[in-house]
Structures are given as C-alpha cells and as structure tokens.
Symmetry: C2
Subunit: 210 residues, 2 copies
C-alpha cells in the first residue's frame, strides 16, 4: 500500500512508530504537497471571479504548474520510502572478508546516492512551488490571501526538512565529487527559497493588517 | 467522513478544490500533527537504546505529552471544518429589515468567535509541541536528530499558519475586548515559538555538521 493512500490518521501512526519508513523525507514531501495544494486552492478561488479577471490568465498558468508540482511531491513520499529499503538491506550485508567489505561499501555508496536523490528532488520541487507562491501573492483573490501565507510556510518547512535529509545522506557518502555536486544543486535553492518564502509571508501579513 | 480519515491524496484533492473546507486552518493542523509525529518517532527511536539509557525517563515523559498533542492536532483538522459551516450559513442570512440585520450581525459575531477558537487552539498546541522538541533535541538518539529538525520546522509552519487564520477571523470580529484577549493569548506564543523553533533547528544543523 502506498503511503500517499494512507489516511492522515494512519500516516501519522506509522510515522510515529519505529518503522523505517516514512521518516523525515516522506514527512517533508507531504508537508510540501499540502503547501502547494493551498496555492492551487487560492488559484481556484481566484479564477472566474470578475474582480480578478485581469489575473485570470496568469493564475491559470500558475495552477497548471502547481498541479504538476503537487503530484510530484505526493509521488516523492513513496519514492523516499522505496529508496530506504535497499539501503537498509545494504547496511545488513556481511563484511567478514576483504571481498565482502568491498562489495558492501560499493553497494552502500550506490544506495545512499539513490536515497539522496529523493530529498534533492523535494528541495527542487519545493523551491519551484515557493516561486509560484511568489507570483501568486500579487495576483490572487484577497479573500484567500491568508492561504498563500500558510502554503508558503508549509513549503519553507518542507524545503528545510528535505535539506536535512540531503545532509544525513551526504554525511555517509564517500564520493566527494558527488557531495559537491549535490551541495551546489541544493544549498542555493534552500537559501533563496527561504528568503522568498519569508518575503511572501510578510506580504500576506501586511495585506491582512490593512 | 472526517477529514483526518481521508487519504493524503484525497485530502490534497479536496484542499485544492473550491470547497469551503478544508482550508488553511485544517492544513495547519495537519502540518502540526506531522511535526509532532516526527518528534514522537524520535522518542520511539531513542527509548530502549542502551546508549541513551540516561535519557529514557525524560524521553518517555516527552512521548506521553507528544501523543496527546498529536491527537489534539488531528482533531483540530475537523474542528476547523465544523466551525466553518455555521459561519458560512450566517453569511447567507437575510438582512432586509433592521431586525434581520441585527440577528445576522449577532449570529456572525458568535460564529466568528467559535471559528477563531480553532486556530487559537492550534497555536497553543503547536507552541507546546515546539517546547517538546526543545527538550528532545538535547536528549535523543543522534541517529534520529535530523527528524527533530524536520518536526520543528513543520510545527513552526503550522504555528504561523494558524496565526494567519486567527488574524482573518479577528479582522471580521467587532468585539474589541475579545480581539485583545485573543491577540494577548496568541501573539507571544507565536513570537516565542518561532524563536525556539529556529534555535532547535540550528542545533540540529550544527549536530549534523560535526
């Protein structure tokens, strides 16, 4: 059974448990999906409203991209779990002989890189989702603007959460070239994404205090 | 059907839609529940480990409180939805005569106050949950410390998200005494909660960079 097909109550139960999955990576992906869904909801509450007719085309474009990002984030909940199982097996491999040690190390390194790609993808997707909220905050129904703020906060949390999962994988990987590549891919997105999220949130707070 | 009994995929679908519920309040409560569940998971991964025997009693106490907060947050997803329906009905009440206007105003004011109590409760519960993460970060298995960071980020997002929902309710309420009371109840918790969450997250980042 897919994790995305569990009820919220069930997901929370299995998250709490010692079970290897879901963990922080899957939780970050779900939190990101919630964030992007709030953005999509704001699009749906803006489209078709006479008052916001001038935003219509732009918001339709945002919704189109948002729908894809949200589906991607839901997929990444389970992708995170799927990568964990081979990794867990690799940790259990024997290392009695030099030959076994070598095979175990190589297998571990490969599994760690596979596992690392999921939080890397969550970082990238959440960054794109935050950028969509940046567009949305200036082009949406004022009746739904608080939800842009909630959405962007969820994505900010998912971005940081995914990055922590990148770090724990990277900490066990030996290939320094790979580590550099992953850091260069993710760190600027996290830094910029958090900045944008904070700006969007402040705009929402300001709009609501008028 | 309860929102907490929907699958994540279904919850996201109905969140995206124009349907009045769930909205930002319910999304914040679910994000908070995910955050607290990560904290509980860290407790479960610490309890029973010889290496962390000295933390055992403390962590059991944290888990006990965490389990209650997490159940409370799951309940608040549906509580938020339940308050919205009478509010929505009140907005639809007639206001042709002075008498009707008066009744409508009074009903709206009551429904808005009821609706406001849910995000207020989410703020309080998330603050308590962040405080538990503050205890946990210094007393947990290093193998699970990244999840303390993900958990506290989810709770920070839920705290800010709930506060935005307090603000949108308060913006429509007329009773200034009630508004003052709610602001005094929530604003210091949000300010302090975010500060603590940021400190906990930084501790996690530091622990992972060793």
């Amino acid at each position: 059974m897919k994790l995305a097909d569990k009820t919220s109550t069930e997901f929370i139960e299995v998250l709490v448990s010692k079970a290897a999955v879901p963990g922080g990576g899957g939780a970050a992906a779900l939190t990101g999906a919630i964030g992007m869904a709030l953005g999509s909801m704001v699009c749906n509450l803006t489209i078709g409203k006479k008052k916001y007719a001038e935003y219509e085309e732009k918001v339709k474009g945002i919704l189109d991209k948002a729908t894809k990002l949200q589906a991607e984030l839901l997929k990444l909940i389970d992708a995170d779990a799927e990568c964990f199982l081979p990794l867990s097996k690799a940790y259990g491999m024997p290392k009695e002989t030099e030959e076994e040690k070598k095979i175990k190390e190589e297998t571990l390194e490969k599994c760690l890189k596979d596992a690392c790609q999921v939080p890397v993808a969550i970082v990238k997707t959440c960054f794109d989702a935050i950028k969509l909220h940046e567009d949305l905050v200036d082009n949406c129904s004022m009746l739904a603007i608080s939800d842009v703020g909630v959405g962007v906060q969820c994505l900010r949390a998912a971005l940081y959460g995914a990055q922590l999962n990148v770090v724990i994988n990277v900490n066990s990987i030996k290939d320094s070239e790979y580590i550099d590549k992953v850091k260069k891919e993710t760190e600027p997105l996290v830094e910029e994404g958090v900045k944008i999220a904070d700006i969007v949130y402040e705009k929402v707070v300001k709009a609501l205090s008028k």
